[in-house]
Subunit: 338 residues, 2 copies
Amino acid sequence: MLATVLHGPGDVRFEHVEEPRILLPTDAIIKLSASCICGSDLWPYRGLQPMNGPAHMGHEYCGIVVDVGSDVTTVKPGQFVVGSFCLSDNTCPHCQHGFQSSCVQREFMSGAQAPYARVPLADGTLVATPEVPPEDLIPSLLAVSDVLGTGWYAADAARVQPGSTVVVVGDGAVGLMGVLSAKQMGAGRIIAMSRHKHRQELALEYGATDIVTERGEAGVAQIKALTGGVGADSVLECVGTQESMRQALQSARPGAMVGYVGVPHGVEFDGQSLFFAQVGMLGGPAPVRRFLPHLMDLVLTRKINPGKVFDLAIPLADVAEGYRAMDERRAIKTLLRV
Amino acid sequence: MLATVLHGPGDVRFEHVEEPRILLPTDAIIKLSASCICGSDLWPYRGLQPMNGPAHMGHEYCGIVVDVGSDVTTVKPGQFVVGSFCLSDNTCPHCQHGFQSSCVQREFMSGAQAPYARVPLADGTLVATPEVPPEDLIPSLLAVSDVLGTGWYAADAARVQPGSTVVVVGDGAVGLMGVLSAKQMGAGRIIAMSRHKHRQELALEYGATDIVTERGEAGVAQIKALTGGVGADSVLECVGTQESMRQALQSARPGAMVGYVGVPHGVEFDGQSLFFAQVGMLGGPAPVRRFLPHLMDLVLTRKINPGKVFDLAIPLADVAEGYRAMDERRAIKTLLRV
């Protein structure tokens, strides 16, 4: 089959690869209903993350099961499934505590920017819908797999409560999903930091009550001005740089939590500063599996529309253009039609 | 009067100082019922923290109000009071959120290793007992002021729940109070890390279920062995060094919280390691004021006996010996009889 392989910085190729097949009795093979490009795919694309040779790209997925290994009992061929970008057995103690992204058997999904993909640990990872969903819900169900699940985790880790004042740092797809998630959790005020008109509009549509366009010290000053000098109860850090993390920490009131989901690149913390700021932190790869049933239900009952975050939809064969569009910030997130 | 002044590393003097008097209408003056030496007093005593000239030592206190400023309404001369080592107005937004240790008017108490002390922000800081308590409860009420309040905050920040598995890093007075606090909060298992027999005994008396004597990698391995390879739900970091913080983070399971109350000295965190460990953190100076009424009640009704942490009681005039005893770890915590 033809699928997406990253050969080096800026070098995305749609080329022949072996079709996936069952390697372990716990595997499933799915036919992708759609695929997409993640903000985190841009780290290696931009040469900001080391690579060990060519990489089969794509970790967000939903689709129809076409084959399962002999140990798989919870899904079967013909079913529509969504899975997390973190593969987990969903039975180990970490999974039982709701942190499936730290499963003792954890693997990260790969190879999903393709017509077919192998999903290891299928029983623990995949959740099937009662029936094959209508076509128009595919983008939203695909979003659940990572970008919505990650934004939701940011809000959960930041302990958003009904009435909370929330700041979202980062106006990428995850940040926008963070806005949606905070809104669903009942936040009273949601301040989105964004300098891009199109993203601001989507943030407002997803529930943002305020937009702050400034960054750095000026951005923090604006947050403080909007919160009577206090700072936010919950901050969602959805970027992963030292600047965005500083912005997040300084936007939080003492006792607040920062949920950080942007993979930190070059981020360091000084213990004493963090201590006296008295700001709590919880981050990590999102345990999407914990949230999957609830988020899939919200989509299937059309209560949320996370799929709107895909503002570019192109054929899978044009995947290289999809990377370029996101790299140049012409697109928030690219859907790949399979 | 004669009081305690630290002139430089190792140089504690009991010498003549001016008697405190009302400087602001929000001040109170108290006659100390007892005073004590804090583990944090040892940082400057050991030369590990810069000093700006001689310092009037002592920030833990309880006693009888002898004078109040014209604005003070909640306490009056003759009443017995306990206050936090963090002075706060208890009305600002941070105080209202329960983080009085980040009060917009916050000051740190000083000069309480003395017969009399000035307490700024008296209305917000002090809590009076219904009547003057019996003499034998004074050590426990004094402990509430900082060491118990700080151990309690560590457990609160680490989100100890009924049934939780808790690790306490540090067998100083705060660590021992962390054990007591976790027990009060209903922890199912409390693992105290301690190499000192006397401290181990007190930890067991306060509710520890297990003692780990190893440190570093061996200590972490022991914690993992005791928790079926999982790690703790909550970790209380009560030291403040890079080694103790590493120990704390590595003892925690993914999704756990580390409550850290040892003032970090030279502690740094790598963002990416923290991200993939998926361990949450909340620290800072303890908002003791939030807990004061509850903790004072637990002492007055004799449900807890935190005062037992004082294993050396000497006259205030011998304060220099009290510092030496704690510095040399001959004493866990020194009570100063006034």
